[in-house]
Amino acid sequence: MSHTADVPQRKPTNRAWLARLSATSESRVAIQRDAALSVVSMDLRDDGGDAINNWIVEAGTQLFAALRELVVDTAADCPRVCVLVVDPVTDGTLQPVRQAACAMVRGAVLSLGPERPESRLTMVRARPDQLDQLAATLDYLAGDEASYITGASLDLTQRR
């Protein structure tokens, strides 16, 4: 059975930005626009700043602004947006703040999924060393097979 009626399928554009993101945290919150799946990345690598302000208050505010742009202020019939959280998952005093930032994104995405059923909203949590393996997950979320997935959190940081 096909579920493509309301989800135009497009091939994702190249994801050179993933390599850039892997190499350096240029910006804490960045938008990669793509007709098939736009990605909002949030970087939780330590840059020596005020983690509570940077990762919770400012990144959260930027996240909601990005979601308004990609989900509300768009002409797309079924916008697909994935929030990618890059989390080094370290021990130490910063980890509770990282856990808080991840939970903030999860709380937002899981709440907005059912609030905006015309869109597809997901969250992916990955470690920096996993970024070069993300294409499969992003391709899946961009494809027809994932048209039933929204308000979902995919945590890739659990080693198997």
């Binding site: 919770i56 505010t61 909601f64 509770p96 856990q99 903030m104 709380g107 709440s111």
Partner: protein, 242 residues
Amino acid sequence: MRLLVTGAGGGIGTAIVAAALARGDDVLAQELKAPTLARFDPDAGVTPIIGDLTDDRTLQALEGGARDGGIDAAILAHGIQGAGVLHELSSDHVRAILMVNAATIPRLFAALAPALRRTRGRFVAITSQAALRAEPGYSAYAAAKWAAQAWLEGQAELEGGAGVAIRTLCPGRTLTNMLKGSNEVFAAEQGMTVEDYTRESLDAVPLGRFADPTEIAAAALYLADAGARPAVLAATGGEVPH
């Protein structure tokens, strides 16, 4: 016992202060504006600290009050209302929700932990049932509460058994002005009267009623006391089992 209570002039905070005074506790009470604390007689054991929790000067005043007088427990009862669908959430509103409902909690912990460590004290944060489930129509509020809850659980792990006891109270719909305000927002969004929306929202609560602030205050004081207590207590009338 000496308690520090934030948001002491709010619906739940007022009930906590009243219940604490009734059982003989001393209270260091923070509130944004002085008039909301005026109902408490300083002779009854309330020391007021007036100021905004997003202002470092207020945190310093609380740190000094906790250090100088000592505290056995802190109860965080402050917060702002955060109802609103995505297209109505301005960046200023989102920032305020995240600052007050999430970022103030680790900052307060940093200010109060030295005093709490001296007394093997308790740090009790009142979050929300929105910290335990998704909340369509409430996404920024839920994001802040999920962040707060996760930070509290992460910090509790760091504290271990010998550090400050970190406990969380997750209340459901409680009869306060904040609930009234969010009911008005939701009723307007859905084109309903506040009365009709309130009746409908009551149907979501298995107990069929909202919590009274005195019930939430009793739960907060239970968590603030020494002894074996749960790390998380859901007081939701069964709406969000946890």
